[in-house]
Point group: C2
Chain length 321, copies 2
Amino acid sequence: MKLASLNEGRDGKLIVVSHDLKTATLASGVAPTLQTALEDWTNTEPKLEKLAAHLEAGKVDSFAFDANSAASPLPRAYQWLDAGAYIHHMELARRARGADMPPNALTEPAMHQGASDDFRGPTADMELIDPEHGLDLEAEVCVVLDDVPVGVSEDQAAGHIKLLMLVNDLTLRNILPGELAKGVGFIQSKVANSYSPVAVTPAALGEHWKDGKLCLPIQCHLNETLMGNPDCGVDMTFNFPRLISHAAKTRNLRAGTILGSGTVSNRDHSKGSCCLAEKRMIETGEATTQFLSTGDTVQIEVLDPNGQSVFGAIRQRVVQV
Amino acid sequence: MKLASLNEGRDGKLIVVSHDLKTATLASGVAPTLQTALEDWTNTEPKLEKLAAHLEAGKVDSFAFDANSAASPLPRAYQWLDAGAYIHHMELARRARGADMPPNALTEPAMHQGASDDFRGPTADMELIDPEHGLDLEAEVCVVLDDVPVGVSEDQAAGHIKLLMLVNDLTLRNILPGELAKGVGFIQSKVANSYSPVAVTPAALGEHWKDGKLCLPIQCHLNETLMGNPDCGVDMTFNFPRLISHAAKTRNLRAGTILGSGTVSNRDHSKGSCCLAEKRMIETGEATTQFLSTGDTVQIEVLDPNGQSVFGAIRQRVVQV
């Protein structure tokens, strides 16, 4: 099943989208918003699945699905947690700034909490306030949870993953060092994220959802040129159930929490990069890659082996504001 | 005007509370929840103020206000940002662990984003999972905002402060060092916060709201013994408008954002401490103060010069779970 939100009001309007992303139908009869659906998932999921089956069978009124009229599936959320599950990316980042890896990097995930009050749509402009900020994309996979109790085990955590999405976690690279020096996280160096047009249930991913990982490549294009297509299932040191269990060690995670993987990164550098900072790190000699400029376009997408877009594309253009 | 939320559902049920905190009336006719009221504050505020005036005049149906049936005014929020506005506290904390102050500590506030999906009520138990975690209270003042645009100036920011509350920002002191070593914020070392029974408009604070600071002492009791009563208006290096402007430098802050001052702390040590970690830091010789244990009670309250409780008391007991 695939779900999306029409761009209406602060929380969007829930719709069910066909597997091929071509058509959609209103889900207002089940729940007005994705947030409210997640809060009562046991009851809403079977009804939404039934609606999805009817949509595939052409048994309900439908309309053409257009990512440009979609908000992010959750236009805002009560929690956005972002991990560093692809340790290789962190190794490169630390090496680039001459910092050691945290001593427990391989046993304890790094994770931060970021802004979730004001997400942007999958095709919304990326607003650049100051070109000196060093705007960068970060292509990630994320999961959406129902209510997760404190102390959840990894085995139990897997069952709380209700949906997956892609995210463009925007970062202001030149503000980052000053915030890292304070050591308590990111306020100014992370700006409004955008998510993929649709959120997809683990079941709808079939064999591509395995061991708590999305086992498909993620494609990042910058100005129509492929800059990276690492496999999300490769080199992920901590899978999603492990990340959830870490986040819930001392607290409940309430329905609608979004948890991200961190920038997808493979050790095989022929797979390219999912952020410009990493591309700069692996350049030989002085880095020549520049951060994003006005007019640049970014596209983030996952295709299945048949070339079918799984989540729809995040496709954003940089505008100066 | 004073507002509170009855403990019903995930977002509570909005009520208006009398100035003396003795009576209350349902505000359902204006807005079902405080969150929805904040999202349309220009329209809802005058209606709520009118209801408050009618309540004071005995012109509406009312009932006795009981903090035990209240949730936190916002039982969950889309954003909880916590600053370190009382630099003296940070100086003591850094000195205690042999760390230097960040080079920009006096010009740039330290701020982190914490869990906001699962707040507890003002008299809810503090749940201790493991006594070795080192549970500590932190008494703070916080502001609740309407929609704040990116790049807001300090002057403009003041107008976005719609309500003030107190908060007990619970911290697991013995988990903190491992998370600080990772340098990206707190996931496991901060647990569910509780807020004061009522949220109060700046106007209702009268002369005690001045220069973007609450100018009244905050009282912290541990097991009925006063452990601190520093003045919130003294030694606050960054006032609330400055903190808001910092948080909004590169992003909007959407309605319902809660922004905290960090642990209130005066340089005059005769005023005591608002967290046990600070009490330990200023003990001569080896620290003897222990963190919270099962059965301990904590009370956090602000009284006006007439002895009237302004926000009601946060009053919580530690239970082992």
